[in-house]
């Protein structure tokens, strides 16, 4: 257990005070529901961009990616370099004009404008459920970690962090959440950067790290470069610790899951929708691409350093943390590294960065939940025409409800050790088919509401059937799959996830096309501003500086990520 001193507590207290202070400062500018849910569409691009990045930096991200860095090495960067950047560029250049230009308040509302009420309702319900579960599991992970590391009571830490997030969102709505996400972003960078520097110094620099990772790879029966090169061992599933091959990786992660998450998840899109103009909205994900592509060096590298140090434990005196059953507990890699390298003061800063990541992820979920609940469930299904003040009030009630449901989910997660698996399944079942719906909806005018709805339903069903008929190696039929029959064995859970997404997306795509062709086409005049073919092209205003041009920024981001892939090939 880590022993904290007064200076560490003072760092915690300072952070909490400023986070609440931002909420108080923003409060007086919240007058309408548009201010509360969409920040009055007044955010500069750089703030919305950093918030876009930070809302994705939840507990699973920081703890989980460091854990994956230790388990799989630099190949974990696929979740960033092909699993995020191309989708973020696609969102900015091709999809943002429709999201922002349609003046929809949410992703489900865009679906209503483009398709019909039933498609919006389906997406709103599944999204609301996903956000609450995701937020609850993040909270559970945080409570567990603080209990294990600092001996804090699980209930007290969950309620303290939930209470602070609740207060600052109640006060300032999305504006408060976005401002705090920017603050949390810088805190995470400053909290983890010294960890990487000290760790690299300890392991003998970059060369020492490479040598250590080669020892790890060889000791586990892989080629020496399996931990230190991202593509070289992707030729077959047995050649790398992830158990995936290049096609499943590129199609499953790089296309379906990545585009499904980054281009359709309202949690992220909401930050761009809050931007002050169309140009700013398009630049929001593009600004986020730069920290996103560099974050592997901040989050994955500590995990790689830890496993390299552990491979030479006789010299380094470092051993990876273990679970009670004797298996390696990769989730504790980051906290263990903080305890190893940081003296008092810096330790407070590192732990505050960890808590900030939990809180920014939770705030992202809660603000997305209150918007979708109020605009896409309460307004159309409960009280259709009420005053703006009433919907603002309902947004605040939904914030309280969202936080309470998240806390309840945290307790459910603490009682069932497989709820994380359920969440992963829900994501694969919901996001993958949704991307097919959006792709066809935005770029094929013949696509209609019946096609979209049945495409979504059948895609979700296909994901469930594929999951029920396949099983990852070394697991038993049940939550991990094979609950109908075992027709196919995958070498890893990751490979199964990627292929579940591919099946779901393909089914949704085909069914949407077939049903749309069998039913009447939508009225073309209603598609202006909602689809590529029916909307006049966005002309970039003349005289814009290079850094204000979305297409140029997108090309630069893609070139940079290509160079990174080459450098670590």
């Amino acid at each position: 257990m880590i022993h904290l001193r007064v200076i560490d507590w003072a760092v915690f207290a300072t952070y909490f005070l400023f986070v609440l202070g931002v909420g108080v400062a923003v409060k007086r500018s919240i007058r309408t529901s548009n201010d509360f849910f969409l920040s009055g569409r007044a955010m500069p691009a750089w703030i919305a961009g950093l918030a876009f990045m930070s809302a994705n930096l939840g507990a699973q991200e920081v703890i989980g990616m460091a854990a994956s860095g230790a388990k799989y090495g630099i190949a974990t960067s696929h979740f960033y370099w092909i699993g995020a950047i191309p989708a973020m560029v696609f969102l900015a250049i091709f999809m943002m004009p429709f999201y922002y230009g349609s003046r929809a308040r949410s992703v489900p509302e865009y679906l209503r404008l483009r398709f019909d009420e039933k498609t919006r309702g389906f997406n709103a319900m599944s999204f609301a459920l996903m956000t609450v579960m995701s937020s609850g599991i993040s909270m559970y992970a945080m409570g567990l970690l603080l209990n294990l590391l600092l001996g804090w009571d699980f209930t007290a830490s969950v309620w303290l962090c939930a209470g602070i997030v609740l207060v600052y969102i109640l006060l300032g709505g999305l504006t408060s959440a976005i401002y705090n996400e920017v603050l949390q972003f810088f805190l995470i960078v400053f909290g983890f950067a010294p960890l990487v520097m000290l760790g690299l110094q300890d392991v003998g620099g970059w060369d020492g790290l490479q040598a250590g990772l080669q020892r790890v790879a060889v000791s586990q029966g892989f080629a020496a470069d399996a931990w230190s090169h991202s593509w070289r061992q992707m030729g077959s599933t047995g050649a790398n610790p992830m158990g995936v091959e290049w096609f499943g990786l590129a199609m499953g992660l790089g296309f379906v899951l990545s585009f499904g998450y980054w281009c359709t998840d309202f949690l992220l899109v909401q930050r761009a929708m809050a931007a002050e103009s169309m140009q700013a909205a398009r630049r929001t994900p593009l600004i986020a691409t730069w920290p996103k592509m560099l974050f592997p060096f901040l989050i994955i590298l500590p995990g790689m350093i830890a496993v390299a140090l552990a491979a030479d434990s006789g010299h380094s005196g470092f051993a990876l943390p273990l679970k009670p059953d004797g298996q390696t507990n990769y989730d504790l890699v980051i906290p263990q590294m903080l305890a190893r390298y940081f003296p008092s003061g810096m330790l407070g800063l590192g732990l505050t960065a960890l808590i900030a990541s939990f809180m920014s992820g939770m705030a992202g979920n809660v603000t997305a939940f209150n918007t979708v609940w109020t605009n896409d469930i309460y307004r159309p299904y409960v009280r259709r025409s009420a005053s703006d003040a009433h919907y603002l009030w309902m947004g605040r009630v939904a914030t309280v409800g969202g936080v309470l449901l998240s806390v309840a989910c945290a307790y459910v997660a603490s009682a069932y050790n497989n709820i994380m698996d359920v969440l992963q399944l829900v994501f694969a079942f919901v996001n993958a088919p949704l991307f097919a719906t959006f792709l066809l909806g935005m770029f094929w005018q013949r696509c209609n509401g019946h096609g979209a709805f049945f495409g979504l339903l059948s895609g979700t069903l296909a994901a469930a059937v594929h999951h029920g008929l396949s099983l990852p190696a070394h697991t038993l039929p049940g939550m991990k799959g094979g609950w109908i029959a075992v027709w196919h064995m995958y070498p890893s859970e990751m490979a199964q996830n990627f292929w579940t997404a591919i099946f779901a997306w393909s089914t949704s795509f085909v069914v949407t096309v077939v049903v749309s062709l069998m039913t009447p086409p939508p009225d073309r005049s209603s598609l202006v501003g909602l689809t590529w073919g029916a909307t006049p092209r966005q002309q970039t205003p003349a005289g814009l500086a290079w850094y204000d041009r979305p297409v140029l920024l997108g090309v630069l981001a893609l070139a940079a990520v290509f160079a990174l892939n080459l450098a670590f090939f």
Binding site: I7, G21, Y179, F342, M346
Partner: protein
């Protein structure tokens, strides 16, 4: 923009930086870490102080430019 977010972020980082530097100079010597001496606190605290100060300067310049307009 509702208010300049660089003001609270700059203030917080300046304050945290000062706290770390102050602790490194006058804190409990028994708290010294084996692998990371307290000079880390001082060095990184200074970096955070400079970063916070930079944000405050940028926010101030932005406000002046707005007043001038």
């Amino acid at each position: 923009m509702h208010f300049d977010i660089r003001l609270p972020i700059g203030t917080m980082f300046s304050l945290l930086g000062l706290m770390l530097v102050g602790y490194a100079i006058g804190g409990d010597p028994a708290a010294t870490h084996v692998l990371a001496p307290r000079a880390i606190d001082a060095g990184w605290g200074a970096v955070m102080f400079i970063f916070g100060g930079l944000l405050l300067v940028l926010a101030r310049r932005h406000r002046r430019a707005q007043h001038a307009r």
